[in-house]
């Protein structure tokens, strides 16, 4: 069974076709890279898959289940997690609380107005565990406002991983990072176990190439090339998109 199956997906904003008949089949455990120049419709595709915007036509299946019209808040409960290109975190809270909120999102405890959130080991311990995965355990209590950009990227990833997703959507996880920070994130992503499928967006081809088994090239909302790393890199259409004529 495919982990994620996107079928003939279309979306237009007014006269602008941002997603044009996109087909995508991601196998369980696969590492898929979606590349394309700025404005190719990569983030829109993610927003369609996560349900933040509704497609005009086409369908999305998650492990055989049709989720095209499922509200976006249901999708994390079905095993889908995402990170944002523009970091979207809770700036007034600590790193630990940010991750606890990710855990709480999937727990019925989130409706409980009576218990003390800091005294729930299932939240605090699991949050620390997720932070240990990304190497931030030592500064878990630090307010988010006192962290660096690279640390925040890792908090984003920790929050997604804390939800124990079956499919993880990473929207430009290397954007804005220094070379060292990039290496850290690369190692971190390599450690993610194979029972998680990963789809990563990147517009800079060199950064993410060695991560992926299969690559889709998006251009003006269309998948113009799809295949293994070698196939895509050597395809003349890829060169055309990235280098021009």
């Amino acid at each position: 069974m495919t982990a994620l199956h996107v079928n003939a997906l279309c979306k237009s904003f007014g006269g602008l076709r941002v997603t044009a008949n996109v087909n995508l089949a991601v196998e369980p455990g696969e590492r898929r890279l979606i590349i394309g120049p700025n404005g190719a419709g990569k983030t829109t595709l993610f927003n369609l898959i996560t349900g933040e915007i509704t497609p005009d036509s086409g369908s999305i299946n998650l492990f055989g289940q049709d989720i095209t019209h499922a509200p976006s808040r249901h999708r994390p409960h079905l095993g889908m997690a995402r990170t944002y290109q523009i970091i979207t975190l809770f700036g007034r809270d600590t790193i630990l609380r940010n991750v606890s909120l990710a855990l709480l999102g999937l727990s019925p405890l989130r409706w409980n107005p009576f218990i003390n959130i800091d005294r729930r080991p299932e939240l605090v311990d699991q949050a620390r565990e997720a932070l240990a995965h990304v190497g931030l355990e030592a500064i878990a209590e630090r307010p988010l406002s006192q962290t660096s950009y690279g640390e925040r990227r890792r908090v984003e990833i920790a929050m997604a991983l804390a939800q124990k997703p079956k499919i993880l959507l990473l929207d430009e996880p290397y954007a804005g990072l220094s070379i060292d920070e990039r290496r850290d994130v690369q190692q971190l992503l390599r450690k993610i176990p194979r029972d998680v499928s990963i789809v990563m967006i990147e517009h800079n081809m060199d950064v993410a190439l060695d991560f992926a088994e299969k690559i889709s090239v998006l251009h003006f909302g269309e998948v113009i090339v799809e295949g293994t790393r070698a196939e895509v890199v050597n395809d003349p259409r890829t060169k055309e998109v990235y280098l021009g004529h």
Binding site: G91, R92, S100, L101, W111
Partner: protein, 331 residues
């Protein structure tokens, strides 16, 4: 909080002062003012759930407040008992809150504010113009206060203690709410609604529940108000009341437990005490608000805490630091 911490000491002293207030104040006039501060503080705490924690600024709470007062007043006037009238008042306020929430939560920010304002004005209009039901501008009189655990609440001290019990319950429930997972969810929808949705939270339903909690305590305070005055008229449902409560919350400090209480104390004292000496007390109140917003934009309670820490820091270390950022303590 450890038993020896200054916060615990401050809390213990406050509780002691509140418990013994009728003894050291003596004059029933001032005991009554203390009761007023306490039930307005309950409304301010209730509004703070929306303004401070959910990030939703409502200007319609006077309508909810009056809904409770009018329901109880009219039922008592019709000859029903206190228990029936009070329960009906709370149920009616919750239902009204639910309707308010369904209509206003289609939006946030200015849109939310305008819809709550309009809904509050509709309730005011009903109280004012539907005279066959509400007795219009003449208002509704009630003849008796209830008995509470066999104690008659007719005198000032007894009513003060009943109000103090309700106030205490409201503060405790807020303190528990703030630390709870649901409290964290509500604050999350204030700070990053989109992210909360992507994490699996039902943002709309969280805001709806927060509105009901806010409506519940507003209704409870409305009951205390109608029993305190033994009278209710459309005047209390006017926009002025909503604005005053909002000013209590903002001047004291949004998103804090103590802030709305301090704000309520300032407004009630200005209205009752200062107005005896200065005819244009509204002007004085305005000047105070402008001063608070200018020098402590985060509100009196977080602002004082900031100054305190800054002063403490300068005392304990020779090198002055840049100080703390505003709003650090606000949850």
């Amino acid at each position: 909080m450890s038993l020896r911490s200054p916060r615990f000491a401050a809390l213990a002293i406050s509780i002691l002062l509140l418990l013994t207030l009728p003894a050291w104040v003596g004059n029933p006039y001032y005991i009554n003012i203390a009761s007023q501060i306490l039930f307005w503080a309950v409304v301010a705490l209730a509004l703070n759930v929306l303004v401070g924690y959910a990030g939703l600024v409502s200007l319609g709470h006077a309508g909810l407040f009056g809904m409770a007062g009018y329901t109880a007043g009219l039922l008592l006037q019709a000859g029903h008992g206190h228990l029936v009238a009070d329960i009906a008042a709370i149920v009616a306020t919750l239902l009204t809150s639910a309707i308010f929430a369904i209509l206003s939560l289609r939006s946030t920010g200015i849109g939310f504010l305008m819809i709550t304002l309009a809904l509050g004005q509709i309730l005011w209009g009903i109280a004012y113009r539907w005279a066959s039901l509400t007795n219009g501008d003449n208002g509704v009189n009630i003849t008796t206060r209830p008995e509470f655990l066999g104690i008659n609440l007719a005198n000032a001290s007894a009513f003060y203690y009943a109000t103090l019990v309700v106030f205490g319950l409201a503060v405790i429930s807020m303190a528990v709410f703030v630390r709870s997972p649901f409290g964290a969810s509500v604050r999350g929808t204030r700070d990053q609604a989109r992210r909360m949705n992507a994490l699996g939270y039902n943002v709309w339903l969280i805001r709806f529940m927060a509105f009901l909690i806010s409506g519940f305590w507003t209704g409870v305070a409305g009951l205390l108000f109608v029993y305190y005055n033994q009278f209710i008229s459309p005047q209390v449902m006017a926009l002025q009341t909503s604005a005053e409560v909002l000013l209590m919350v903002i001047s004291g400090g949004t998103g804090t437990l103590l802030g709305p209480v301090v704000g309520a104390a300032i407004v009630v004292i200005m209205k009752n005490v200062v107005s005896a000496y200065i005819e244009r007390w509204n002007l004085v109140l305005g000047v105070i608000f402008v001063a608070i917003i200018s020098f402590m934009p985060e509100g009196l309670v977080p602002g004082t805490a900031r100054l305190w820490r800054y002063g403490w820091h300068r005392l304990t270390s020779r090198k002055p630091s840049a100080g703390d950022k505003p709003g650090d303590r606000a949850q």
